[in-house]
C-alpha cells in the first residue's frame, strides 16, 4: 500500500496534507481498497465548524458506508465537488484528485498530534 511521506495520518485512515494555512483531507490507499468501489460521497457544508474526531463526511461503497473524521479541529473551507459526479476518484487517486474536504485548522500545530507515514505504516501492520 502506498503511503506518501509528505502528509499526516490518523488511525481511522484519513490523511491530512498541509497547504498554507489549510489542510486537505482524504482517505488512504488502504482505506479505499478496503471499502471497494466508492459510489457516493456525502460532503459537509462549507463553513461548518468541526471538532477533531467528528464525523464530517460519509463515503459509501457498494458494500458499506464509512464515516470520515476530521483529523483536526477547525472550519471546513472547501469540499471536493468533483466527487458528486465521480466518487470513483477516491479509488483511482486517493491521495490526489480523490481529496474530500479542506479544513482551516484552529491551530496548524495540532497536526503534530497526528501520525507520520511510518506511524501509519505501523497501524496498518498491527491491523494485519
Amino acid at each position: 500500500m502506498d503511503i506518501p511521506k509528505d502528509r499526516f495520518y490518523t488511525k481511522t485512515h484519513e490523511w491530512a496534507l498541509p497547504e498554507g494555512d489549510t489542510v486537505l483531507v482524504g482517505i488512504t490507499d488502504y482505506a479505499q481498497d478496503a471499502l471497494g468501489d466508492v459510489v457516493y460521497v456525502e460532503l459537509p457544508e462549507v463553513g461548518r465548524k468541526v471538532e477533531k474526531g467528528e464525523a464530517v463526511a460519509v463515503v459509501e461503497s457498494v458494500k458499506t458506508a464509512s464515516d470520515i473524521y476530521a483529523p483536526v479541529s477547525g472550519e471546513v473551507v472547501e469540499v471536493n465537488t468533483a466527487l458528486e459526479k465521480t466518487p470513483e476518484l477516491i479509488n483511482q487517486d486517493p491521495y490526489g484528485e480523490g481529496w474530500i474536504f479542506r479544513i482551516r485548522p484552529l491551530d496548524m500545530g495540532h497536526l503534530d498530534d497526528l501520525l507520520d507515514a511510518a506511524g501509519y505504516q505501523e497501524v496498518l501492520e498491527s491491523e494485519g
Binding site: 471497494g36 468501489d37 459510489v39 457516493y40 456525502e42 460519509v58 459509501e60 457498494v62 458494500k63 458506508a65
Partner: protein, 349 residues
Amino acid sequence: MKKTPLYQAHLRHGGRMVEFAGYALPLQYTSIVEEHLAVRRGAGLFDVSHMGEFLIQGPEALAFLQWATANDAAKLKVGRAQYSMLPNARGGVVDDIYLYRLAEEEYLMVVNAANIAKDFAHLKELSRGFAVELTDLSEETALLALQGPKAASLLQGLTDADLSQRKKNDVFSARVAGRPARLARTGYTGEDGFELFLAPEDAEAVFEALLGAGATPAGLGARDTLRLEAGFPLYGHELTDDTNPLCTPWAWVVKKEKDFHGKEAMLATPCAEKLIGLVLEAGIPREGYRVYSGDRPVGRVTSGGYSPLLEKGIALAYVEKGAQEPFFVEVRGRKAGASLSPLPFVPLK
C-alpha cells in the same frame, strides 16, 4: 468455516474471502461494479457451491412436491425447471427454491445455503405418508453459475451440447471441458446464463476452463447487486417464515387453484404491507433504513444498495398497504427522495 471445492482457485484469482452461510466465499475479485457490469455485458462466473441440493425420487415424488411447494410442479416436464417456494403451516415461506425435473420420478431442488438444514427437516416431515425418498446432495455437489449475454456463446466452445436448442429453464446432461455435468439454463442475475452442477473433483477444471474462455470471475457482492437490480427476492430479507408471498410481487409463484401445505393459512392472512421498489435521488439505502410517505413512517428497506446500471441507490422495501408517494428513505438522519420503480429496476431480457 466450510470451503467449497473452488476455495484454492478463488485465492489464486485474488478473491477477497468472506464468510457467507458458513462458507468461505469471494466477496469480490477486483471490483463489485466491474464484476456486475461483466455479467450485464459479457459473461461472469460465480461459485454457488454453497447452495443446497436435494434429490427427490419415487412414485409419489410429484404428489409430494405438489403438496410441499407453492408453484404448480405438475407443469414441469422432464428436463424443465421452475422457481417455487416452500410454504409453512402459517402460510409464510420456509425458503424460495428452484425445482428441476430430471426424470419421470426424479426431481432436484436447489435451496438457499443458510436454509439447508431447516428445509431438509421440513421436507422430511412433510414427506411422511408419501412414497418418496429425499437425499441431501449438498456436500457432494459443486455448482457454478455462468451468467450474461455472452454466457451461451462462451460455453458452446466447451461443451458437446447444442446450446441453441436449449431454452430458458431447460435442464440437461452434457460434458463441459471434458467433465460430466448437469446444465440448466437458469440463474439469479436477470441475464441469460447457465448453472452447472458438477462433481466436486471436476469443479476446478471446469471453473478454470470457463475463465480461460473469457468469463470474468464474480463474487457475492456482484451476485447481490445483480439480483437486487433484477428485482429478485433474497430469503431472510424480502421472504421470511412470516412473509405472506401473496403480498409480494412474487405472488405469481403461488398457484391457488391447487392444494398445498399452508394454503388455507396463506389465503386467510390479509396483506398489511406491500413490497415496492424505490430509486433514491441521492445516497445509498441499506437494509433496515426507514421509509416515509411524506412525513409518516410507513415501512423499512429489506434490501438496499447501489445499481451500477442506474448509477443510483435502489431498494426493495415493505410499506403499509395503502402508502402513497411521495416516498422518502431516511439515510443517516436525512430524508432522501425516493421514486417508485417497477421491478426489475432496469430493463432485462
